[in-house]
Amino acid sequence: KKEEPPPAAPATPPAQQQQPQAEAKPAEPPKAKTHKIGLVVDLGGRGDHSFNDAALRGLETWAAGKKYEGGQYVAASPEEIKASITSDLTNLQPPITPQPIEPQVIQSKSPEDYEPNLQLLVDQGVDLTIGNGFLLEPAVETVAKANPNAKFLLVDSVLLDAENKPYSLPNVRTVTFKENEGSFLVGALAGLVSKTGKVGFVGGMEVPIIKKFEAGYRAGVKTTNPKAETGLMAVYTGSFNNVAAGKQVAQDLIKKGADVIFQAAGADGLGVIQAVKEAKAAGKNVYVIGVDSDQSHVAPEVVLTSMLKHLDLAIYTASRDLAEGKFAAGDVTLGLKEGGVGYADVRVDFPGKAEALQKVEALRQRVISGEIQVPASKEELSSFKATP
């Protein structure tokens, strides 16, 4: 094994990079061992304001205390780190603190690149390799089997065998989320906020995971505003990378009277936010609910809240575990109870806000207590009894 300098340090002459670790290691103070953690993001890439940015936040900002600028890492200030932590995690114990960790992020251009990219990180000698997104499941599986001594974290999927049945490997930790539970709460809020009694949902491609968002969302709306659920307009854009398509879909929903729209559509979702922003500017009273990350910064005036999916927390936790030597394989499922999903601070004002938030909080407790079983699919939804 060998230790390499930080990936983008320009001060390091190329020659040094190939130095064997034997020389480099004695120079290291044995205690504060720096752990290298590699992350392969899926096709959405850096800067999606959503899924991948959440993962990058967990690794770069939280675990390593760094930010990525112009192709290199610089230290992030404590304020910046603090600002990146959503309120539901501020009281986390122990609090989020940067660890001696060096991130190494690789972006992928196509599905067939996942596997070599993961392998490249393993070859670079990282201590933990993270695959972000269910698209990477087959690749993580293969690379983990080929490198039994390396540790892996698979986010957003469990390992699936050839028949697509879940199984586990001794060197892979997987984290999945109960998106339906978070979606349930934002759905409940949407039902309470909607004045027109019409709410919308915009999905990307019609894949099961997005259906899970829809089911939870519908259940939430049904709980607080049963009428709105029957008229709920759910549209799929057919893509995750076409902002304009998302915008057009949202415009259509707004024209048809929707005043709260929840989007789970990758880049298309940014188009949804755009459409709502423009409608607001034109004098309409409309809101959008973000997804994965707190998307309030994209358009503060219209983002009601965001359904948080704490990939950041999952990655941070795994990184910290690694730094503390506690990293263990296994399947982790994060729901409301575990703080793995939730919703972001509601920063916009609307009549009856306090009351509405109270109701949503009450629902949160009922989900956590197990009183409410949030449906995760269309079938479960049909048998779901809303109890306000």
Partner: protein, 370 residues
């Protein structure tokens, strides 16, 4: 031979110029040493970490990158040949992407839905991809030959139709893989192990049957084009349709054949992807290999040997380009080099004029137009 070498000069110069331009681009956005290091890393990523290998003697350090390069090269060889074969018949096939999509899907379906011994399963899956790709391309050929619809337009349309139908319907609808417990999986069901290309170096590397298959296909295309009567007729039909017709060659038939072969090659690229590494249709083909094929074909002078060399070169750049990210250099460089190289090749006549020394080498040996 020297004649052929001379005709490759503009392409070689174009690629070199593109490499220089991109090097300058890295140097400008970062700094000189990063630029130098980035190219070195790209090379390591493409052909193996030779220094480290010499040090450690671990074969995987060479085999792995080479396997990746070979995988990319196989795809580029096939799509490049696809475009080149159509060119030879005077047709511009912009539809390799769509043909690859339908071919990939077909091989994924055959690989997953049928259980057969490996010796039959693999050829059958490849055949399915080739036939589907050919059929898709023949739509464009039919429109061209019977209705005069320019193949550039029809193949662009067919690309969209293929992607819409496959990615937004079949791959997320009837052919979608289902996971127990509501888990999400991308794409279609996994193919049977019997349909998977064997790995040539066991588990060290992803080097698989795809690369030798692509080379064999390139050899076949070369033989067909330069050694057989049919290939000769096809080239004549492409270069001079009127003269070819007067010589008793059925120009339409040769064009349709070439287009079918072109589609079959693109379809096989899809099969190489599915059977070689993905083991399923992956939901969508994010990389535009079909469009890359255009660049590869033109840079490779539309000739099977040139295409193969170009494809291997860019396969190395593509596979190695990922390593540039270790330095924080952008992931788009291999594509940029390829695009610029094509642009410079499009200015072929500029090169020839700059280089013209021999008068008997007419300047008008250009890409045939349809």
């Amino acid at each position: 031979m020297s004649e052929r070498l001379r005709s490759a000069v503009p392409s070689i110069l174009s690629v070199l110029l593109a490499l220089v331009v991109c090097w300058v681009a890295i140097a400008l956005t970062r700094d000189l040493s990063t630029a130098a290091e980035a190219y070195l890393q790209m090379l390591y990523g493409g052909i193996g970490q030779i220094p480290k290998y010499l040090e450690t003697g671990s074969g995987a350090l060479l085999a792995r990158p080479l396997g990746e390069s070979a995988g990319k090269a196989a795809l580029l060889i096939l799509t490049g040949l696809s475009v080149a074969v159509a060119f030879k018949a005077g047709l511009f096939n912009i539809g390799a992407q769509g043909q690859m999509v339908v071919g990939a899907l077909a091989s994924a379906v055959v690989g997953a839905q049928i259980a057969l011994p490996s010796v039959v399963h693999i050829p059958l899956a490849i055949l399915a991809a080739a036939v589907t790709g050919a059929a898709w391309a023949l739509i464009a050929a039919a429109l061209k030959l019977w209705r005069g619809v320019h193949e550039v337009i029809s193949t662009i349309m067919l690309n969209w139709v293929a992607v819409s139908l496959v990615d937004n319907w079949l791959a997320v609808g009837p052919l979608r893989a289902v996971a127990s417990g509501g888990h999400s999986v991308a794409g279609t069901a996994e193919i049977h192990p019997t349909a998977q290309f064997p790995r040539l170096l066991a588990d060290i590397s992803r080097l698989n049957l795809g690369f030798p298959v692509a080379l064999a296909v390139a050899l076949f295309v070369w033989l067909w084009l330069t050694r057989t009567r049919r290939g000769f007729e096809t080239q004549a039909a492409g270069l001079g349709p009127d003269a070819a017709r007067a010589a008793g060659i059925s120009v339409k038939q040769r064009a349709a054949e070439a287009m079918a072969l072109s589609g079959a090659l693109a379809g096989m690229a899809g099969a190489v992807l599915v059977l070689g590494t993905e083991y399923r249709y992956p939901g969508s083909l994010a990389a535009p290999y079909g469009f890359d094929g255009i660049a590869i074909s033109l840079i490779g002078n539309n000739n099977p040997l040139g295409v193969t060399i170009t494809a291997i070169f860019f396969g190395i750049l593509r596979a190695g380009g990922t390593r540039m990210q270790l330095l924080g250099v952008h992931k788009s460089f291999p594509e940029l080099i390829q695009g610029l190289a094509l642009l410079f090749v499009a200015g072929r006549l500029v090169w020839l004029t700059l280089l013209r020394k021999r008068k008997s080498q007419p300047a008008s040996t250009e890409v045939p137009r349809a």
